[in-house]
């Protein structure tokens, strides 16, 4: 980045014989970088003095701030278009320096590990300067302010006076502006919480905040009827006794059990003679398994191992085991054994009944990627007891509340429309050649 600064400065000095002093009009890149620098110092200073995260004001202050700010931008541009500072802030040098600043600050965010929201570190210089909680720091607040102001003016400028060719640019700028404004302002109204629902427990409307032990009450109550996991059939792998290295099958990388399927590993063929996805062993030596739908059931397979000549080497039941039953492998020789891996989940879901304040109830099934909207809240299936897997006795349901979401999504779709308009225009989206290098 500093490369650009140097280059532009050198050029302005050498080519234009620019003897203009700093902050003498018309402003250019130099002023932009100096302003960015001042903002960085201010941001770091505020963070260092306060030593704690900041948040945008919540509803209704955020809404009135956003509306006032936007109207102000429009009014200033409309009536003070020729003011030298307005000219600068709605121009390319301000846009580029603001973007460079935002890039630098985001780069910090992309490199320094961030603390979980709500965590406060003491006597940690990186934390005190805001680097470890960047999204709630003064530094990013000032950066946003510069960036969004430049973007806001650019949006208005692309609309006034209206030109058809500029419409794509207007849409991109408007979309991004809405996303930023709504995202920042909405962050303080959004709630991210979760329900902890136990099997057969009473309906509850208590949710816990995602980042703190704080509790809220939702207007509705939830009850878990049943948590379930649909699992893939388990994989079978060949393992080296000495270092537990996994040996892949000869024809592919994985061997997933299907009924009566065989696969070659090194010099051996393993054949699944019988497979029961959910079963109980009938005795402790695992000599037999029976199908069951009961709690804690495990997958089991009767497998036979043959050598190259087709001679049977070994035949036994194997299982991945679980939190109740130990696993069982089958040995090939003193060096190798076959093992069944625990089945991987394909889909997990909770069958839930919601009790609404008007006395009605609603039944639905929550799955990953299939959220459910309920009275302005979004419910997501997120967790369960991973040790017990399919037989988990509880389900964790994330409950989110974000009234600004429609605004953000509107911005997203406007931005998509805008960038595709630019895609189609290509280089013609940018002004034709001119020698007017200086605005």
């Amino acid at each position: 980045m500093s490369f650009i600064v140097l280059y532009l400065q050198k050029k302005t000095v050498t080519q234009k014989k620019d003897k203009r002093r700093l902050f003498q009009f018309p402003w250019q890149y130099k002023e932009g970088f100096v302003i960015s620098f001042i903002l960085i110092i201010l941001g770091l200073g505020f963070d260092f003095i306060t030593k704690k995260p900041i948040h945008f004001p919540a509803f209704p202050t955020n809404l009135s701030l956003v509306i006032t700010y936007t109207l102000l931008l429009i009014a200033i541009y409309k009536f003070e278009k020729n003011n030298k500072i307005v000219k600068w802030i709605s121009g390319i040098p301000a846009a580029i320096t603001a973007t460079v600043l935002f890039t630098i600050v985001s780069a910090i965010l992309g490199i320094v590990p961030q603390v979980e929201p709500g965590v406060i570190l003491k006597d940690d210089i990186l934390y005190d300067l805001g680097f470890k909680h960047l999204t709630t720091s003064w530094l990013i607040a000032f950066t946003y302010l510069f960036f969004v102001t430049s973007l806001g003016f650019a949006t208005v400028k692309a609309l006034i006076p209206f030109k058809k060719k500029k419409f794509g640019i207007f849409l991109s700028h408007l979309g991004l502006y809405i996303i930023f404004i709504a995202g920042i302002a909405g962050s303080s109204d959004a709630k991210r919480t979760y329900f902890y629902l136990e099997n057969d427990a009473e309906p509850t409307n208590i949710v816990t905040d995602f980042y703190s032990p704080q509790k809220y009450e939702t207007p509705f109550k939830l009850q878990l009827n049943k948590f379930d996991i649909i699992e893939y059939n388990p994989k079978i792998v060949l393992v080296n006794f000495s270092d537990n290295e996994l040996i892949t099958p000869n024809s592919s990388k994985h061997f997933i059990i299907k009924d009566s399927l065989s696969e070659n590993f090194l010099d051996w063929t393993i054949k699944v003679e019988k497979f029961i996805k959910y079963s109980y062993p009938t005795d402790t030596s695992y000599s037999k398994f029976e199908e069951t739908k009961s709690k804690g059931a495990i997958p089991a397979a009767l497998v036979a191992i043959y050598d190259k000549q087709g001679n049977l080497i070994n035949q036994e039941w194997i299982t991945s085991g679980n939190f109740i039953f130990p696993r069982k492998n089958i040995a090939v020789n003193e060096k190798y054994y076959f093992a069944m891996l625990s089945p991987e989940p394909k889909e997990f879901s909770s069958d839930i009944t919601a009790f609404l304040p008007d006395g009605t109830t609603e039944n639905f099934i929550l799955k990953v990627n299939k959220p459910k909207k309920l009275m302005g809240w979004d419910l997501y299936q997120t967790g369960y007891d991973e040790r017990r897997g399919k037989w988990s006795s509880y389900s964790i349901i994330e409950a989110g509340y974000d009234p600004w979401l429609p605004a953000v999504f509107t911005g997203i779709f406007i931005l998509i429309a805008g960038t595709f308009y630019l895609f189609w225009l290509g280089s013609r989206a940018i002004k034709e050649d001119d020698n007017n290098d200086n605005n």
């Binding site: 280059y7 460079v100 985001s106 965010l109 997933i256 997501y380 290509g426 290098d437």
Partner: protein, 296 residues
């Protein structure tokens, strides 16, 4: 269909893709060239799409988990993109580039027979998953072309110098060769024309990059309940977005500072590479939701 039948599809596709850009050399009218190029490339798209769909049905999940599966999508979308760009801007070399890239991916799949894995973790089973990944892959492929064009431009603008530039131009000769072989008239030597070419490509790549980020946001909202979490991968995608934004805005003024623009475009690609490969090595990547990408 499954991977057993892949070689038949692959060889047919390679032939079609080569035919598609080779028509440039036929002694026929421009219009006929264009029609033939379209027919060949579209046939490739059709058979590959057919293969992917039947594989999808066969696997019971979108074939986008393993590297080999992702390469299949390249083989469909690169030629489509080559076609769109070709029809829009008449760059035969871009069609040649996209088709050659697609062929490269097909050949890798032929020489590294695909692993066969049916499982896919629940969070990845989203309707947004396929578009998110494919769009990202495409933006990456396209922005790389803009980088190559920039390098090509830099070499041209420094071509009177010797030493390191000479070495570089030999290293980068394939794209240099491609652009020069497939370009008409003055397009290849005029730096301003080269930058215009770069702009056309950057706007396409940038549109896809934007789309990739936004699809990712929509998906995150659906799967994790939050559309933007400053996950390192997200942050680096945003950084890439921002540096290309700087390029676009720089281009809208100072038209004469061509070598600055070429340099900025060249450097922007470093951010893309960091976003693509580097994220996993950043200290911030510890808790990334994107760690599943390291699995395979």
């Amino acid at each position: 269909m499954n991977w057993v039948q892949f070689p038949y599809i692959a060889y047919t596709a390679i032939i079609l893709l080569v035919l598609s850009f080779s028509v440039f050399f036929l002694p026929i009218s421009k219009k006929s060239k264009k029609i033939l190029a379209n027919i060949f490339a579209l046939s490739n798209v059709a058979i590959f799409a057919y293969f992917i769909i039947s594989l999808w049905i066969n696997l019971d999940r979108p074939p986008l988990r393993t590297l080999g599966e992702t390469r299949l999508w390249y083989a469909v979308f690169l030629p489509i993109l080559g076609l769109i760009t070709f029809n829009r801007w008449k760059y035969f070399w871009f069609l040649a580039y996209s088709n050659l890239m697609a062929i490269l991916f097909i050949i890798i799949n032929l020489t590294h027979p695909e692993t066969y894995n049916k499982t896919l973790m629940p969070a990845l089973q989203s309707p947004w998953f396929v578009p998110h990944v494919v769009v990202y892959l495409l933006s990456y492929a396209i922005l790389r072309v803009s980088w190559l064009v920039a390098i090509n431009g830099l070499l041209k603008s420094y071509s009177n110098k010797k030493g390191i530039v000479k070495v570089l131009s030999i290293l980068l000769s394939p794209i240099y060769f491609l652009i020069n072989l497939f370009s008409e008239n003055d397009e290849k030597d005029n730096i301003k024309k080269i930058l215009k070419m770069a702009d056309n490509i950057v706007f396409i790549g940038f549109a896809f990059l934007t789309l990739g980020i936004l699809f990712g946001a929509l998906w995150a909202k659906e799967a994790w309940g939050s559309y933007w979490t400053w996950d390192p991968k997200e942050t680096w995608a945003l950084l890439t977005f921002l540096v290309y934004l700087i390029y676009i805005h720089l281009r809208s003024q100072h038209k004469n500072k061509t070598s600055l623009h070429l340099w900025v475009l060249t450097i922007s690609f470093a951010f893309l590479l960091a976003a693509w490969f580097g994220v996993n090595y950043m200290p911030s990547a510890k808790n990334s939701v994107h760690t599943y990408s390291q699995e395979e």
